[in-house]
Amino acid sequence: MTQNNPPRSAGLVAVSAALVLFSSGCVTSRVEDARENVTGLKEGESVVIMAKSYHQGNETEAGYISCIEDALGRGSQGLRVIPRQQFVDSLFPWFEPRTAPAETKGLTKLMDRPGVADIVKDMGVRYIVWLDGDTETVAQGGSLSCAAGPGGGGCFGFAWWQKDADYEASVWDLEGYEAAGTVTADVSGTSFLPALVVPIPLIARTQSAACKGLAQQLKAFIVQ
């Protein structure tokens, strides 16, 4: 009897580990684009990913912007992405949250300012992608309680939560000083946390899915 326990425990641990590693919650996503103008990227041209101003209430997470930057630049077909801090510092103070142009109609005037067009040209920036939106928990429920004592501890119950990730990327073409179009990602994910002694998290990677989907579509949108 006692000889059978170790393999059974090991099996239980292995199954639990597999569940944790390979299971995830449910994610539904919708990624769309709306084109206004023809796009394309010549050799040496690059893109910069920016967040719309928090002065205007935008809450786009820094981690999400970095994720889009990484995803666009990754792979053999990766785009040349200029780090946003380098771009903003080089053009100080014209892309600060307070001063950044809110519409493409301000681009012509901005480019006429001393040094601005030269810096943009030197960096090879063809497109500015403005990100707007965020990920937030929209619903949650269930009950989970944990207890520990001298003989051990454990959890019992079930909890769940739903996150919505809504992002919009507006693409501005610095060649014609015009809007090229928008790409939107609307992702909803529900995570579950059942616990019978050991909690088994089934996490829906909502923001990650929104990043992957938007970056993929954005790359296709820009390159065509």
Partner: protein
């Protein structure tokens, strides 16, 4: 002895809960990038006030935590860099220096009118936010008050990937950059400092202009006789630099 300790223990626990935890952040000197603007042709003296050498602000949340930010010399460093970029010539003087000993067209005295910050437990978000309200007093070479301008700035930084102290520092730095952007864009328009170049004097020594910048909208321009309000967000429609 043990009985005494036992009696004091609940009192200590209550005090501990009321006092909460404390965090102290010491601000490093900020770096303001060189602005892509033309310099204003004015010889300026910048008087750094005593408070800029060691500015400390504390926010306490009853029963939870207290946060202290020590800005040290960061404000002095910020204005020295900013005005060095903004004007053709800058001389920095201390709080006790006699301005009559140096040559200048305009003397600027910055001060802090207000400093506030919020932490995630207060705002129920993942972000630290900092608000700074600077006051810039501009004097002509005769010592007449030419302008009095308040500049409100805001910076926000997520906690994500950083500890609270770093995030608060970043929010303060972003607030300073925000102030810098506004000052670069509006300094001459708001204070008419370029009129003081080459011996120009303040329009009226008896009635210095009171300038309040950063009200919520341009409608405030007409709200007071001597007040002038400008707030710029999301674009650069005005011609000032």
């Amino acid at each position: 002895m043990i009985a005494k300790i036992r009696a004091l223990l609940p009192v200590c626990l209550i005090l501990l809960v009321l006092a909460g935890c404390g965090s102290t952040t010491t601000m490093e000197d900020p770096t303001i990038p060189a602005p892509q603007t033309e310099k204003i042709p004015v010889v300026v003296a910048l008087r750094i006030p005593e408070e800029f050498n060691n500015f400390v602000h504390e926010e306490s949340i009853l029963g939870k935590e207290s946060w202290t930010i020590n800005l040290g010399r960061s404000n002095a460093s910020f204005f020295e860099q900013l005005f060095g970029y903004l004007f053709t010539s800058l001389t920095v003087i201390g709080p006790d220096d006699d301005a009559r000993d140096i040559q200048f067209d305009a003397l600027i005295e910055p001060s802090i009118d207000g400093f506030e910050f919020s932490v995630p437990t207060q705002s129920q978000t993942e972000a630290f936010a900092v608000w700074i309200r600077y006051r810039l007093r501009v004097f002509d070479r005769e010592g007449n008050n030419a302008s009095n301008w308040t500049v409100s700035a805001y910076g926000k930084s997520e906690k994500q990937g950083m500890n609270g102290s770093k995030a608060l520092q970043r929010a303060a730095l972003l607030a300073m950059r925000d102030a810098a952007a506004l000052i670069i864009m509006q300094m001459d328009k708001a204070t008419q400092i370029s009129a003081l170049a080459n011996g120009g004097l303040a329009p009226s020594a008896e009635e210095p202009v009171q300038v309040v910048v950063d009200s919520e909208s341009d409608q405030d321009l007409d709200s007071a006789d001597d007040d002038f309000g400008v707030f710029v967000i999301g674009g650069i429609e005005d011609d000032s630099e």
